[in-house]
């Protein structure tokens, strides 16, 4: 225990004298939390629509007005023929084309509505598909209004969609907990790895290896400072989420910290294990980077796991962030309790133990 406290004192002293790391610990979460939620929005706005109006009726004019009035859509032009509209699409000036067929209004009044055509630019898949969905929504609403005014039976029963837990489907609410996880992945994975490989590169570990210090104690002294760093980073991020985005956990803060602690055990163990197996900074960073990319892209941080192919979903079972993400989003947005999430906590706990044991086992005082 005395050896551990001596080693810890040394680690904290070095940390406080480091010119780079303390700045990263404070500035990195601030930068990420202040900037990224604004720029990584998947809400599609300003979808440009060009209308090919073959009908030239009250209905078609009303459609154009309603589309233009939509918050998400704006009418770029109204053309006489499809070729002109297509030219606009190809020039990138419009994102979608709506064709209103001839006799559209009269067909509506007769109750056999002619089909309208939407063509969307699929290069930006998100904008194309969401844009045409918004467009369909605007059309359906307009048609329903007209049918109601004329006393016609409604052709389509509009489906009402209500999103629980994130009522406005605000993408930011979905992203902010994910960004906190990303911060912990980066800081608690990279910093311990950098620290340990640094000792290898300067040769100081050689001097430690000839002392009677046990590898368990030494590894623990390398991990503990970054567990605390992880909690500091998380606290900064949560304060900013509350102060700037008015987002506070719907569930218990203690639950979030408990999960974060387990996750930080895991990440720092991984970083130290990789550092133990690397001889140089470059080697350690490259391997870390590879793993971090897989963690970020595959564990449901940005895209839902349910929409991945079945084999990929199986792989995600072995990615610790997957469970942490589940816990964070559930507690933050749904107010889930430990009882709901105990299996995620258990999985994270297993990863924490396994990764930290690997970190100890990977440290060899003799080659």
């Amino acid at each position: 225990m005395r050896t551990l406290s001596v080693l810890l004192q040394k680690e904290f002293r070095q940390l406080s004298r480091n010119k780079f790391v303390p700045k990263v610990i404070v500035l990195f979460p601030i930068m990420v939390m202040l900037v990224i939620p604004w720029v990584t929005t998947m809400d599609v706005r300003n979808v440009g629509v060009t209308v090919v109006d073959d009908d030239r009726s009250t209905l078609s004019r009303r459609l154009v007005d309603n589309i233009d009035a939509s918050e998400y859509l704006s009418v770029i032009a109204v053309c006489d023929d499809y070729a002109a509209a297509l030219a606009l699409l190809e020039a990138g000036e419009t994102d979608a084309i709506l064709e209103i067929p001839d006799d559209c209004e009269s067909s509506l009044l007769e109750g056999r509505l002619k089909k309208m055509n939407i063509s969307a630019n699929g290069v930006n898949a998100m904008k194309g598909s969401l844009g045409s969905r918004y467009l369909m929504g605007a059309i359906a609403q307009t048609l329903a209004e007209v049918q109601a005014e004329k006393g016609l039976p409604a052709s389509v029963e509009p489906t009402v969609v209500r999103n629980f837990y994130n009522p406005t489907l605000e993408y930011r609410n979905y992203m902010v907990p994910a960004l906190m996880i990303m911060l912990l992945v980066m800081i608690c994975g990279f910093l311990p790895a950098l620290n340990l490989v640094g000792e290898k590169e300067t040769g100081t570990i050689e001097q430690i290896n000839v002392t009677p210090v046990g590898r368990f104690t030494f590894t623990l002294a390398k991990l503990i400072p970054f567990w605390l760093v992880g909690l500091v980073v998380l606290s900064i991020a949560m304060l900013l989420a509350w102060g700037v985005y008015a987002l506070s956990p719907a569930g218990s803060v203690a639950g979030i910290y408990a999960a974060a602690l387990l996750f930080v055990f895991t990440m720092s163990g991984l970083g130290v294990a990789i550092a133990n197996k690397s001889d140089t900074m470059q080697q350690a960073m490259f391997v870390m980077f590879f793993i971090v990319i897989i963690f970020i892209l595959m564990s449901g941080l940005l895209t839902p796991i349910d929409s991945m192919p079945a084999w990929a979903q199986k792989i995600t079972l072995f990615l610790p962030p997957r469970y942490f993400i589940e816990i964070m989003r559930s507690i933050y947005l749904k107010g889930a309790t430990f009882g709901d999430l105990w299996h995620d906590f258990a999985a994270l706990g297993v990863f924490a133990v396994v990764f930290d044991l690997i970190a100890v086992a990977a440290y060899k005082k003799r080659s």
Binding site: K10, T204, N209, V210, P212, V213
Partner: protein, 305 residues
């Protein structure tokens, strides 16, 4: 602990892939002895240190430090030896006193416990005790490293090229410090690429390319392997070297600082050879008998391999 030898090595072999770094090396270091390991870079000195300080396991052979086997009893060895690697490997961002206290604590002792041992060395760097170790000069770093290696009063001290890259005055001071430690009954194994430092050791081992060439006292080595040596200088040194190699009864002629060293047979006639060289057009030829040194022996043994 009353092991007879401080270090006992028998048939020690270490390979890195297909390269043999140490080839069946055997020697013993007496208790309280200052033992020098002399050899050029790549001779296997550092490998030997890493084996003896339990940082590596040998492929063949056995080694014992303080009577303890390096493979089986590595834990006990670690608390009994002091190791100063060739590269400065203390914490550059900790101060002088912090480094010292840190290493003392790792061995479970306090600085005050063994202060008497390090005092003569530590006093020289004490004025800078709050300075970061990384900001010390080369000679001071070396003294701090020695203090840190000694703070737990090891019975055997391993110093891997402690004087490499250190100025001549500091080097001489350093050897004085080692002599003092020896007087305090610490056995010391020290390596150096500088042949002129061999004379400061009780005994030396000459090592080259993983092979042990000779083990004896410096004087013993010179008298056992020494030959008649002449120094030769004058005019165009390179042409002179080539010309000297053609002289009768000259076994070897090697460049040696400002003059060449000729090792010669009993039949060598210095006056005749000098005349011959003058006739060949070399001006100011100086050919004088000299005492054979460790370096001459080293070159001879190396060529015999």
């Amino acid at each position: 602990m009353n092991a007879r030898y401080a270090i006992e090595i028998d048939g020690l072999t270490k390979r890195y892939g297909s390269m043999t770094a140490l080839d069946r090396v055997s020697f013993r270091v007496e208790r309280g002895e200052l033992f020098g390991l002399i050899g050029p870079d790549g001779a296997g000195k550092t490998t030997l240190f890493r084996l003896l300080t339990t940082l590596m396991n040998p492929d063949e052979g056995t080694a014992a430090v303080d009577g303890l086997d390096c493979v089986a009893s590595y834990r006990q060895i670690r608390s009994r030896v002091g190791y100063m690697p060739g590269r400065f490997s203390l914490y550059a961002d900790l101060s002088v006193e912090e480094n010292l206290a840190f290493f003392a604590a790792l061995f479970g002792v306090r600085v005050a416990d063994n202060y008497d041992l390090i005092a003569p060395i530590y006093r020289q760097i004490e004025p800078f005790r709050t300075r970061r170790a990384g900001k010390l000069s080369g000679g001071m770093k070396q003294k701090l490293a020695l203090c840190c290696a000694l703070i737990h009063r090891p019975s055997v001290l391993f110093l891997d090229e402690p004087t490499t890259g250190v100025d001549a005055v500091s080097r001489s001071e350093f050897w004085d410090m080692l002599a003092e430690l020896k007087a305090k009954e610490i056995s010391i194994l020290v390596s150096t690429p500088y042949m002129d430092e061999a004379d400061r050791c009780d005994r030396i081992a000459l090592i080259n390319e993983g092979h042990l060439l000779a083990v004896d006292s410096p004087r013993g080595i010179v008298s056992a392997y020494g030959e008649r040596i002449y120094t030769l200088s004058g005019g165009d040194m390179y042409a002179l070297l080539l010309a000297a190699r053609r002289l009768p009864h000259v076994r070897r002629c090697c460049p040696f600082g400002a003059a060449h060293h000729l090792s010669v047979d009993a039949d060598f006639d210095a006056a005749a050879c000098r005349r011959q060289l003058m006739d060949e057009g070399f001006a100011d030829v100086a050919l004088q008998p000299a005492e054979s040194g460790i370096e001459d022996v080293f070159i001879k043994l190396m060529n015999h391999e």
